[in-house]
Symmetry: C2
Subunit: 310 residues, 2 copies
Amino acid sequence: MDEFDRIAAFFAPLAGEPGLGLKDDAAVLTPPPGRQLVLTVDQMLEGVHFLTGDDPATIARKLLRRNLSDLAAMGAVPSGYLLTTALPPSLPEGWLAGFAAGLAKDQREFAIALWGGDSSSSRTDIAITATLIGHVAPGQALRRNGAKAGDEIWVTGTIGDAALGLEARRGLRADPTGFLTRRSLLPEPRVGLSLAGIVNAAIDISDGLIQDLGHICRESGLSAVVQAGLVPLSAEAAAHGPDVLELRLTGGDDYELILAVPPGQANALRAACAEIKITRIGVFKAGEAVELHGDNNARLNLASSGWKHF
Amino acid sequence: MDEFDRIAAFFAPLAGEPGLGLKDDAAVLTPPPGRQLVLTVDQMLEGVHFLTGDDPATIARKLLRRNLSDLAAMGAVPSGYLLTTALPPSLPEGWLAGFAAGLAKDQREFAIALWGGDSSSSRTDIAITATLIGHVAPGQALRRNGAKAGDEIWVTGTIGDAALGLEARRGLRADPTGFLTRRSLLPEPRVGLSLAGIVNAAIDISDGLIQDLGHICRESGLSAVVQAGLVPLSAEAAAHGPDVLELRLTGGDDYELILAVPPGQANALRAACAEIKITRIGVFKAGEAVELHGDNNARLNLASSGWKHF
């Protein structure tokens, strides 16, 4: 199959109306009336964001979900995406079919469609990127810079599962139910929440709770005080005991949201997040740091705050 | 420098208003009122689309220009772009500064700005992608499927320079003035032409005149008859003699436009392209092939029709 056969076989069936059947030089989008557009791009590289031999459908779905999480952090409704693939000639037959099947599955799951793209051979590694496009009511995009002193810090879901799951995938950690591994491979982007008017700031956790919370602090000119004991744990993460605290708080790839919530908005937040677990873990105050407090409110220091992929 | 330092140093100065200073999870765009958006993405890979050691500023500019050419082929006005970079840790210091300087230069040249992106380490090769966003009057995007039997085939500029220039860069061909090399490294996207209502179809030449003309034929359900002797040559290409005909007609990377022009529209086309050389090279007719005719109208056959990058 040449490039054009592959587009016809695997990608044209995924195309939405702005994609013009993937038969032109570009997509043509009629913007939804009275909305702003939200645009983001993320890449996944072999040996950096996924492991050689990982299931191609899961790679495709994680690529979309990482981008969808960025839209979720802005409070946007996703609508479509552009895709690039750089694939080595040595790739097994069937890889692309599996990859496209993963795209199709999450297109249905998240009501998005393919609008265009570019494919190329690479010399050695697989590299894929997706540009996601969504929309939001004017002026309602959630930002990192809107947190106020006194806002509560809330997070969705549970924190640290993906970092533990990556260790499990590498054989370094037990994961008897496979839950942690699944959290690492297939994050759950928190799209579809109506948080405008309820939260003052938001970000998704791609680089770790502490580092991403630091981005809100930096952009909002604030400190964050986090009670380590309040950070929500899955049962599967809790089973690994308290000695993995640092890994959980600095591990990336959770794609949960951190929210800055003004006092008195907790009930509105609970209503907006009806089906999603949410947890208050701390508070923003004047200053310019992320402080972590443990038992008896004693200050904890972490050896690292950041997260590197593989 | 870590990722955030690099964004602040090299990319934040390039950001336009929808980019929010590159400090959020995504860009927020207020669509231009009453316009459709046109979106395209292209990647450039080390060893595939450029050579290891090529000047980073030129790589950056060619990345933007290849995408700008796709917008030109749709008749769109460019406005902004998202960027991903995957760079090996071994990359010399200064590479990114050069790359950003190239982006800055062509941002000014084409009145576009950076709206967002993603950066990552790669294991070995450099890989960069750009998603370009432009706009067009509703229903006025130029398509590949609009050509009609009897339409004249016109091209902008001169054809085949880039393929000869690539050979020159590899030491296989003389290029005393450097013109052919420049055409290969730094194409001239034909943005800014007002062709709606004048041409019935358009495409840019990325994969070679014959192959890209074939795309219009396929999508429009037509044949194209090209007079080889009419295909416009630069003086520098002509100096390499008639034996490079096939290379010129099948060589990619020219980023000139192929236009389907109804009879009687030549003067309007000339007015719209005032400062750009345009040449009629053939005609569309019923059928489903690209026919090449030489002296005395004898049919010519080419060994290959396509174009592979390196």
